[in-house]
């Protein structure tokens, strides 16, 4: 009755020491582990697809008049790698980093700053310059439309159709 629980000593002795002495030796991480992400500033076009797919809003687009900034907050990231899935130019790459502890809050940010292009007609800032280039490369015929903002694109079309319905002499807007 008392002998059976003592068999645990045999089990423990056979197993030996299993501790991995972490900062001095390598930790046990599989090749599949999802760690931090890395944004390649040479490829990113500032489209915002990753911002729409991110569940905790760790990736955000901060807009000001001259620039659009993609801000990655690693403190809020849940390491799901949905941004890696949806990026159209494969600018986001996953790594296996998990040693991210720090004592300054601003260390947790990564910023990619893009310049903003403006509309030819009204002068309001629209999307990033890189995104404009990317669209014209993919769809060459869009060159006439892509330099104008959506509001200014709509106005001539609306004027033309209202002119057609009413006829000359009476202009109804």
């Amino acid at each position: 009755m008392v002998i059976k629980p003592l068999k645990l000593i045999i089990v423990a002795g056979k197993k030996g020491r299993v501790t991995v002495k972490y900062p001095y030796k390598e930790p046990l991480v599989t090749p599949e582990f999802r760690g931090e992400i890395e944004i390649d500033p040479a490829k990113c076009i500032g489209c915002g697809a990753c911002v729409r797919a991110c569940p905790p809003n760790a990736l955000e687009l901060v807009e000001s008049e001259k620039e659009i900034m993609l801000r990655y907050h690693v403190g809020r990231c849940i390491f799901c790698w949905r941004c890696v899935d949806v990026c159209p130019v494969n600018a986001i790459r996953g790594t296996r980093n998990f040693e991210l502890a720090t004592n300054k809050y601003t260390d947790l940010y990564t910023l990619v700053v893009h310049g903003r292009a403006t509309c030819e007609i009204c002068g309001m800032p629209v999307e990033t310059t890189r995104m404009r280039r990317h669209i014209t490369e993919k769809v060459p015929i869009a060159e006439e439309y892509v330099t104008i903002c959506p509001e200014c694109r709509r106005r001539p079309f609306a004027e033309k159709t209202s002119w057609k319905k009413v006829g000359p002499g009476e202009l109804k807007k």
């Binding site: 930790p27 046990l28 905790p56 849940i78 998990f98 991210l100 947790l108 910023l111 700053v113």
Partner: protein
């Protein structure tokens, strides 16, 4: 507090404070005490009361129901006070950083504590969802001065 660096190099007593988390980070804290990762090599021990603790491990986005109790628990700690904010919920509020029932992580808590005159000597952020036990041991080693910080703010310009 210049004695702090000498005293805390030897052993850290931690108190685990769950402010409304989903428990994944909490079981990884318990996992850090089991044979594979063995946190007791660093002198870390889980204590039963905040009055005996040097370091407070905070998990969870601080919900409105538990906010007064968290403030009481932190006020009960003796100086020097160190807080480690664990996980996506603790550092930035997590996936629910703006709902009606949470206050969005540890930053709002620090403001409230400053207004009440409660001083916190150091605060560390450990991202992860959930954190790996090795990431927690890395933070403990960082406090003790064994390893140095790897993560820094990066700004890239794309024209």
């Amino acid at each position: 507090m210049s004695l702090k660096s000498n005293i805390l190099k030897k052993s850290l007593w931690v108190f685990h404070l769950n402010t409304g988390s989903c428990n994944a980070c909490d079981i990884e804290i318990l996992d850090a005490l089991t044979p594979f990762h063995d946190a007791e090599r660093f002198g870390v021990k889980l204590v039963v009361s905040p009055r005996q603790a040097d370091v407070m491990l905070l998990t969870g986005p601080i919900t409105v129901e538990s906010l007064p109790k968290v403030i009481n628990a932190i006020e009960a700690m003796p100086r020097p006070r160190i807080i480690i904010a664990l996980g996506s919920c603790g550092c930035g509020g997590g996936i629910w950083h703006d709902t009606y029932s949470t206050t969005g992580g540890v930053n709002k808590l620090l403001e409230i504590l400053k207004n009440r005159g409660v001083e916190v000597d150091a605060i560390y952020y450990v991202p992860g969802c959930p954190i790996r036990p090795e990431a927690l041991l890395y933070a403990v080693a960082l406090i003790k001065g064994i390893v140095s910080k790897k993560r820094e703010m990066k700004v890239y310009k794309a024209e």
